[in-house]
């Protein structure tokens, strides 16, 4: 497992969080921590997620898959911690 931090901005609409979380489960992504906070703008929320990916799998693919979601306004892998083995 490698650990990656994703920072996202979501539209504040019903079902947006569910769509992101289902993408994690259907693409085999471990979620280590997840926080969702309102922003000063009422129409978007900020979401920070720490995910675990199987060794050898880069977060780029996941970022692109998240970008496809209509309610995801932006997503970036803020810190690539690929070398930090979870539990090491």
């Amino acid at each position: 497992m490698t650990r990656h931090v994703l920072s996202m901005v979501l539209h504040n609409v019903p079902g947006a969080l569910a769509r992101v979380v289902v993408l994690f489960s259907s693409r085999g992504v471990d979620v280590e921590s997840l926080s969702l906070d309102p922003t000063e703008r009422g129409d978007v929320s900020r979401m920070d997620v720490v995910v675990g990916l199987p060794a050898g799998r880069s977060p780029d693919q996941l970022v692109k898959q998240l970008s496809r979601l209509v309610d995801v306004k932006s997503v970036v892998a803020v810190a690539d911690q690929a070398r930090n083995q979870i539990g090491a």
Binding site: G15, V22, L23, S26, Q61, K64, S67, R68, V70
Partner: protein
């Protein structure tokens, strides 16, 4: 701004979106929408017999016309019956909008009668799902749903509307045009691709369904002819390049032709357009095209380098990509020895089949004759299994969109409702469903719809009495232990001719080689109702060539245990 009900607003929004036909079944929660539908002069409603049929029909319509297909169902079980066709449309990138009724807003979440959280159920199988909570939002949501379904990489979109939203009084304000952002292929990547193409010695165009969706067949032909590079078309791209063209090597993959599979395996440059390196094409990924550089162009950036790392990545619509490449590729590569090798394979390993030892009809012969007699102007649909592979191999496709089948999800029962939808979209073309006896028993109820609605499809049931592809695997990998694959359809249970008549269709049967042409011609002459032909074929026929699951493409077998490429060097 007119005062209307939510339901009228929905029907007007559908009309404004260009919708001309919807496939559906009414029920409690969607009932308000059916009242104004009765008065619509622009929208034809086709009353299906099962919601799954509505969904596949919408997909068949979309694939035959290039427009968005629409299906309608009520809440709860009506909506959940759409799950399979939505998953199917998602895998094959088909623009479909599904409209479902929902229970009243006040009881959502209370386990009300016929309540299902369809929006959540469909999360992983739709591009997007809306639940309309305010009646005035209906026009904008429908416009956005159509734009999302058709824009970028196409796919299914769900619009769930509570009953009280449909019944409420609201105002109709036509939606503003929805802007779909368009990606222009990056010029530097196109230049790098052109350089690789010009200098390659063993290049191949690996063409996927994205070329069909983009309407880019003409551009593909221009670039292919300018460069002289061989072309392979995947299951979803059959027809994107004419089968009769000298540069076409056929379909690659698990049941691909030897020259098509060899062209990928021995290639030094894959030009992959609108394709996703699916496991049915690549076999074991680590052994796929081991010496090839990869140019991968796709409208969906998430597909690029998903399975195979791309050396040149071009994000964009296949038509735009091809137009850019046509402008950038100035010189054709020298391919004399490459073509000598491929032509040699073509001569030595053509597609072929044996006649069954028991004297029964060869299914491949039946399908080949349908393709020949009905011709390339028709649309062919298929279910999933042996008959689907034979339909991909033995019908000659000359036009994009002329073969409509369930590729990614592999949905048995797709053929009949997809043919129904396709026929509604292109009433002037012949539409033939090439189906299996297993698939046919899953969705043949839609023949009632076809008979009553004047949708004169033809259905060729390739009846081998078995779940044929599963049986083939049992023969090859389970020591011939035929667990639960016999369907008794050779004992006439059901009798497909009598069943066809009962469903309001003409029923024909063919058991002899000498009758095949006659029965196809007779079916072509019947235009006042749908036709079902029961082609009783041998149960032991197998689909060859084959790359067994879990092996590399080099181990392609033309017949059992014969591997022509395995030890061969280029």
């Amino acid at each position: 701004m007119d005062t209307v009900t939510g339901a009228s607003s929905l029907v007007r929004a559908l009309e404004d979106a260009g919708c001309e036909v919807v496939f559906g079944i009414p029920g409690g929660a969607i009932l308000p929408a059916y009242d104004p539908l009765l008065d619509s002069a622009k929208i034809r409603h086709v009353l299906v017999r099962h919601e799954q049929g509505a969904g596949h029909a919408a997909s068949g319509y979309a694939q035959a016309t290039g427009r968005v297909g629409v299906c309608v169902a009520t809440s709860g079980p009506g909506a959940t019956n759409l799950v399979t066709p939505l998953a199917d449309a998602y895998m094959d990138s088909v623009p479909v909008v599904a409209i479902t009724g929902q229970v009243n807003r006040s009881v959502i979440g209370t386990d009300a009668f016929q309540e299902a959280d369809i929006r959540s159920i469909c999360l992983p199988i739709t591009k997007h799902a809306f639940q309309v909570t305010e009646p005035e939002d209906i026009p904008a949501v429908i416009a956005e749903a159509f734009a999302l379904a058709a824009g970028g990489r196409p796919g299914p979109v769900l619009v769930d509307i509570p009953k009280d939203v449909l019944s409420a009084t609201t105002t109709y304000t036509p939606a503003l045009p929805v802007h779909t952002p368009k990606v222009t292929p990056a010029a530097n990547e196109v230049r790098r691709a052109a350089t690789l193409i010009t200098s390659a010695s063993r290049p191949v165009f690996y063409i996927g369904g994205g070329v069909v969706r983009a309407g880019a067949a003409a551009e593909l032909r221009t670039l292919a002819e300018r460069t002289g590079i061989p072309v392979v078309t995947t299951l979803m791209a059959r027809g994107a390049f004419p089968d009769s063209h000298r540069q076409h090597l056929g379909m690659p993959g698990m049941h691909g032709t030897v020259p098509a599979v060899a062209a990928l395996q021995q290639s030094d440059l894959l030009i992959a357009l609108g394709t996703r390196f699916d496991d049915r094409v690549t076999g074991v990924l680590d052994l796929f095209a081991p010496n090839a550089a990869v140019i991968h162009a796709d409208i969906d950036p998430a597909e690029i380098s998903k399975n195979r790392k791309a050396d040149v990545a071009i994000v964009g619509d296949c038509k735009d990509v091809l137009v850019s490449l046509i402008a950038a590729v100035r010189q054709a590569p020298v391919l004399t020895s490459w073509w000598a090798y491929l032509d040699g394979l073509r001569d030595r390993f053509p597609l072929g089949y044996d006649w069954p030892a028991d004297g029964k009809l060869a299914p491949q012969h039946v399908i080949e004759r349908i393709g020949t007699l009905v011709g390339p102007e028709a649309i062919y649909t298929s279910g999933v299994g042996q008959h689907q592979m034979w339909a991909a191999q033995y019908v000659g496709y000359e036009r994009p969109g002329s073969f409509i089948n369930s590729g990614g999800l592999g949905t048995m029962g797709f053929a009949v409702p997809a043919a129904m939808g396709a026929q509604c979209g292109v009433p002037d073309r012949a539409v033939w469903a090439i189906d299996g006896d297993g698939c046919f028993q899953m969705t043949n109820q839609e023949l009632v719809t076809c008979a009553l609605e004047g949708i004169p499809i033809k259905v060729a049931v390739i009846n081998n009495g078995n779940l044929g592809m599963v049986r083939q695997w049992q023969t090859l990998f389970y020591q011939g232990r035929y667990s639960n694959t016999g369907l008794s359809t050779h004992k006439r249970v059901p009798d497909f001719v009598a069943l066809a008549e009962a469903l309001g269709c003409a029923g024909l049967r063919c058991e002899e080689k000498s009758e095949v042409d006659d029965v196809i011609l007779r079916a072509m002459e019947i235009r006042d109702r749908p036709v079902v032909i029961d082609f009783v074929v041998g149960e032991d026929a197998q689909v060859w060539p084959m790359v067994a699951a879990g092996t590399g493409n080099d181990e392609i077998m033309t017949v059992r245990d014969f591997k022509p490429l395995f030890d061969e060097d280029l």
